[in-house]
Symmetry: D2
Subunit: 369 residues, 4 copies
């Protein structure tokens, strides 16, 4: 009988972290794969994922509430729980996959685990220093199969006494990074990607201003600024960016998003990445991109040599960019994976027991202790 796998994607960044798993599952005739797009993955202004996804999307569950504040965040997670509970009841999947740590991932986790459907969690065990840590740990607590990216993350899960089995194969997003060639047209470009920080939503605009001030000091470089993802505080940043976009000053190129492969090529080719995206921690380690990580959003996350941190102060950011441009490309660091995570995660999803025990960290024995 074919194994029924259901993957729930709720945001653009999650897609890049599951794409090569989907590729491996889709190529396997023994798999009955259901792809569910929910929350901001369906929304044009947060980079509608579907347009880049060559695989059939089976279900679309709109759940994001307009308003984007803390009460809508909680409400939309409740709403998505209701919708996914019914969907899983109808589908009866053998395993449900959820990715990372956005607030909606807890909806996927509850809808599956409360129905005793095995839940796989990709990217548990990391630390980033905000409410995302809480959500990530809560999802790990509900999950049965764990696919952390790094050895340290795997160890943390083991210590947290999670149920089930831990497989540490790296992050599937690195698989994509391993495929790309640098885009030479970004040679003299600074790429900016800055999201609001949960818990600091009211400062989101001011934080964007500091970064803007810093990057516009680099007159000899082109600036490509990417629109932020949907979260509390996004409106503040978006309003500021729209004002700059309309002003037309500084010749900044504004982008909603790029398909993952082209974005990674741009990164690999660029002079420096500035902002607070997790891409600046993960993929850039493998690609060796000089990166300036700004503020608290990635605080606590494991990082390679390529990352220099700066607070939300324009002169500190500017100084860090100077240093990174002067340094140039870094050596490859496989902290977040070696490029075969997708294939290995797919195999473990289909038959966790068949995967060598040397690969798995079985938590049952630990949990009983």
């Amino acid at each position: 009988m074919r194994k029924r796998v259901c993957i729930v994607i709720t945001a653009r960044p999650s897609y890049a972290r599951i794409q090569t798993v989907i590729e491996a599952l889709h190529a396997n005739p023994a798999v009955d794969l259901t792809i569910v797009m929910a929350a901001s993955s369906l929304l044009h202004h947060y980079g509608k994922v579907e347009d880049d996804c060559p695989f059939p999307v089976h279900h679309r569950l709109w759940s994001t509430l307009d308003g984007h504040n803390h009460v809508t965040t909680a409400t939309e997670t409740g709403l998505l729980t209701i919708k996914l509970a019914q969907l899983f009841y109808d589908l009866k999947p053998d395993v449900v996959v959820t990715i990372a740590d956005r607030h909606e991932t807890l909806a996927t986790a509850m809808a599956a685990s409360y129905q005793h459907i095995p839940l796989a969690h990709v990217q548990g065990g990391e630390r980033t220093g905000s409410i995302d840590d809480k959500v990530r740990n809560a999802v790990s607590a509900l999950a049965d199969l764990h696919f952390p990216a790094t050895p340290k993350a795997a160890h943390r899960l083991w210590q947290q006494d999670v149920k089930g089995t831990i497989f540490q194969y790296g992050c599937p997003s690195i698989d994509l990074a391993a495929r790309v060639e640098p885009d030479p047209s970004y040679a003299h470009t600074i790429i900016v990607l800055q999201h609001p920080v949960t818990g600091e939503a009211t400062y989101a605009r001011a934080q964007a201003q500091e970064t803007y001030h810093a990057v516009t000091a680099f007159r000899t470089h082109k600036i490509v600024w990417f629109w932020p993802g949907q979260d509390a505080g996004t409106e503040g940043i978006a309003k500021f960016l729209r004002e700059q976009e309309h002003s037309g000053q500084h010749g900044i190129e504004w982008r909603r998003h790029l398909p993952a492969a082209r974005f990674l090529s741009a990164l690999l080719g660029c002079a420096a990445l500035v902002g607070n995206s997790s891409v600046g921690i993960r993929e850039t380690a493998f690609l060796g991109v000089p990166t300036v990580d700004v503020g608290n959003r990635q605080m606590g996350r494991e990082r390679g040599q390529n990352v220099l941190h700066a607070p939300h102060l324009h002169d500190a950011i500017e100084a860090a960019i100077h240093h990174q441009i002067a340094h140039g490309p870094y050596a490859q660091d496989t902290l977040y994976g070696t490029g075969d995570a997708g294939r290995r995660i797919a195999a473990a999803l289909l038959d966790p027991a068949a995967v060598g025990t040397a690969e798995a960290l079985d938590c049952h024995s630990h949990a009983a202790g």
Copy 2:
């Protein structure tokens, strides 16, 4: 300014575990206390808590879906999340309190933590061996103040790297146990309290039958059988009990519930407790009641000398009851508390920082490690 505390009660057993905290908060003029009753706490046939609660109930949120299966469990948690999110938005409490590990407690936890309202969790860190473990750990992951009952539970929370501060003061339910006198009318009585086991819902009726077979062998003792709580599998047990009730055989006394104090007096006075309620692990340790714990529901939970375990097989249960009746009352064991938890939890809720650091296990330093 008065401190706004909001306590959400979703089931009868939770009330006994928070009652003395409520008493302490209610007596304090510096506290603006909101009591919310939700889920099965509002339902007559699961022992409507409100009837025993002498304090004003401010909000009633019906959320339990009739049908009581796994998909309704997930759905009602989503629905309650929506309702509590709005309520917390309107109330703006300084701290929200959730209790134990029922599936709905995750609704309280999400609705508060997603709005960055400090969340206190009573009874984290325990292990019982079913999905309750997952829910309990997920709630702990979202909480900021932790009130585990036992030193071992406190240590587990510390090891799980939860956020915030851990205070280990024992379980408030022991405060109630410390107040009661034995009810002599239960001297020759076996009390039965058996719930369905999550994940074993289809066997719930058969499990009840085994216990029934065992206890009805004791012709010289009176049997008082308490109705089970609401959960997947309850209908199976309830149907069986109704059949026995109507048959009128064996002179069993059927009870929906008793007020907590009277129930504890009955326990303290009885010959033995049989079933799988957590009361049989916690309060009975303090009271020294000979207890037969049946099946997997409490598996993994710390227990005193007074508990003998038996599988869901009538002869094993019968043998264990014989042993316990022959043994008679056990010595007091303070594993789950010494009787002052309510007062101390109330104090820590109001001002966590003012409580001596000797009492608190601050997780911040640990989390950063």
Copy 3:
């Protein structure tokens, strides 16, 4: 291409009113039929419809909230709207069918009409004198195809300026009545079927007591009392009935429900029907059963000669029963249909335009007036 028809059943009585439509659609290879069971149709204690339904049930949407009061009534309709909206989005039916006037039917109506999916409403245009009238008219306002049972109901819909087309073919429940033979074992039986009255929920118990007082006066007749349907007030009646059931007095036979065909045979064979079910107005007209209609629940509904009304006073009810038993069977009255409604409704659902214009009352011209 096959026509996709989706029928949503939310309660036991609705099934009898759509069964012969389902039979006709199921027998038609050009139809892709989806049957959805929701709300109380899934619940054992309200006579789980599925057990009597020989056709495959495709989706089960639990939505009924335990508690059964006015706020749960509104809440569960919102919840079911959310679930049905997603289901219709996934299914993309050509037409959705909703039946009668329970509060949940408005969920079906909104979920379909807001997505511009043609909505068919069976049993619009009637008057019963409670909130059901409001719900029924609101559903008619949203519907595109109308299948009222009586000429007077059809005329009311026309006058209400509803959208779309009106087809008056009678009620499909009469199709079932036209098939049955009397059950001779009910020859000396009084059948009781009394529901709570919306808006009079607090009197539900007292109303049941009056009827109980009246029917137990008939010592020479057997009493068969059917359990009420789920609604605000049901708990009050149910508690009273349980007490009588346990008392074992008067030798009353208590029934949860019977399959529709057996129930109609019982009706056709009995001495009198007492209560406030719509069965006592509709099917009994065709069957000629002496009926005592009690209280306001059916007030305003068109009725045949076979119905005698009584207020909720035991002596008035008793006198009316005496009169009806003395009268004996009435002549057949085709007020609610002639027995071919199912076949004709199925045909009009599949191709409204092809049905002779002589049969249809097209509201478009009227609406424009």
Copy 4:
């Protein structure tokens, strides 16, 4: 005892149609007034109503789903029903007021009527020719107090056999129109206000293009274009408008919204209004503004002499604008009210029975017929 009135506002246009009622209630010490803002009334990009509302807003219920398609429309109405049901349960108002015909108004109507709370509906009985008709009639079916604007609308409600009482006092939005002076700065201005048409969402962009083509032909007039309200199809229009806005061509002035009073002054002062807003039918009749009503959105709505209709074809629109500019201001038409609706509606809300029977059309007698 003070009478508890709860008014639910879900969109910007509704506020203008209830403002003078709020003024009258707020000035009355016998009234305990609760204002609830929900749905798009809370959203910045649909003209956040609160900013113009000088009265305290007591509750904010976010319910609008990002995505804005037909399935989100149904889903958000279900979600709002859940939230309002709980709110009305907590508040226990004596009367709830809902306005006009947006899809969310049915959430207000269900949440109140299912809890037997008297429901007042402002602006029932009109005809506009889209799904709004269905929603409006469904709300009227659930309401107990009806405040239609025109005699024809009142007559339709009477014919629809609605429950309760009908009071025809005109539309409160006319009260505002009666207060304003013309804004001379709009003397040579064409104002455009064009919304997507429900059921024609996919053509929304093309329809905006036709209007754009038409108005940009008027080189001697200034064009002020107002952003559309939130609905299925809004994204299509918004995208087109953003493109034009960025192009900077034709010197069009783009506005999100104006406070009601300033908007009416602008209308009274302008050369012509073009689009499909109901303002172009209602307030402009009283103000005598030359209006070009485009497409089907207002089709079927009663209109004064000041309105010229045009299909969504640029040359037809252009010709109609020429005619209207040439004609100049029209005489006042009181079709939609004389300016005292707010005061009279407030009085009838507080004590429907005390209002002279000459004013009220009591539907009870009619309903019984």
